[in-house]
């Protein structure tokens, strides 16, 4: 199929533009609200990656949890703690130059590592019914992580409500 391979690569480049461009927007924008919207773009690009990597379930979960929930949470927090559209002061702190150097060094080191190892790649097809396999795994061999996630979420819920709540008297059920 002469058509298939370049097509996939075109999609890949488009998604990379979204993911990396969005990420740069997140860290460079001076308006936090815009940062959060760039984060949406970046997360959307990553969801596209999951589709290309034949993890459709993860792609949809990415949209649902990140864009549908986490970004909304971030936007609420921004609206709570910022006055509107007043990019009052510089959003960068004093160590931004050091941060650039650290990030660049990290990136080049990672690139060296990525290119120096020959990864054992197979070209086997992925499992067909991923969601079913996930369900069997979570209530089978991955039962403990599954329950730990439950505990983690419950703890996060209680902790976050405790922190964010305005003091009001207790309520009878």
């Amino acid at each position: 199929m002469p058509f298939e391979i370049p097509f996939v690569q075109i999609v890949w480049w488009a998604m990379t533009a979204c993911a990396i461009g969005g990420a740069i927007g997140v860290v460079s924008s001076n308006n936090l609200f815009h940062s959060a919207l760039f984060l949406v773009l970046s997360l959307f690009g990553v969801a596209g990656y999951y589709v290309l990597l034949s993890a459709g379930f993860l792609a949809v979960v990415q949209l649902m949890v990140y864009i549908g929930a986490i970004v909304i949470l971030v936007l609420f927090a921004i609206m709570f703690s910022r006055r509107m559209m007043k990019p009052t002061e510089d959003e960068m702190n004093r160590q931004w130059l050091v941060s650039v150097i650290v990030a660049a060094a990290l990136f080049s080191w990672l690139i060296v590592v990525v290119n120096s190892v020959s990864w054992p790649v197979t070209s086997a097809a992925p499992t067909a019914d991923t969601v079913l396999q996930l369900g069997l795994a979570f209530l089978g061999s991955y039962l403990i992580p599954f329950l730990v996630v439950g505990v983690l979420l419950s703890a996060a819920l209680i902790g976050a409500i405790f922190l964010a709540r305005e003091k009001v008297e207790a309520e009878e059920i």
Binding site: V8, V11, V51, L52, L53, S54, A55, G56, F57, A59, V61, M64, V65, G68, A69, I70, I72, L73, F76, A77, M79, F80, R82, R83, M84, M85, K86, P126, V131, L132, L134, G135, L136, F138, L139, G140, L143, F146, L147, V149, G150, V151, L153, S154, A155, A156, L157, I158, A160, I161, F162, A164, R165, E166, V168, E169, A170, E171, I173
Partner: protein
Amino acid sequence: MLQEFEFVGVLSAITLTIPIVTLLIAWALRPKKPNPAKQTTYESGMETIGDAWVQFKAQYYIYAIIYVVFDVEAIFLFPFAVALRQLPLYALVWAVVFIVLLVDGLLYGWRKGALRWN
């Protein structure tokens, strides 16, 4: 997988053009006579005092937190739902434990009055 999602991609690309085309048509047709009074913030004729930053109730934020947690719960329950008929019976008990753990958090919020709108 890409084939499965191809239609979604095509549809997104096409729907992306719809608002753009609509805006362009409207831009061509509509009158453009801006003046300062028109462009003020609409508050039923009152002069706007201050900027739009209103006192944000933490209540909204608490709803969002509970929503996030239940959303994440849902992404674990969907695979469970698909696999339900093929799971051993005791697994169902563990799934119920998982749900009860989260209901716990909800009950805590309820008891503390976090769900009350005031």
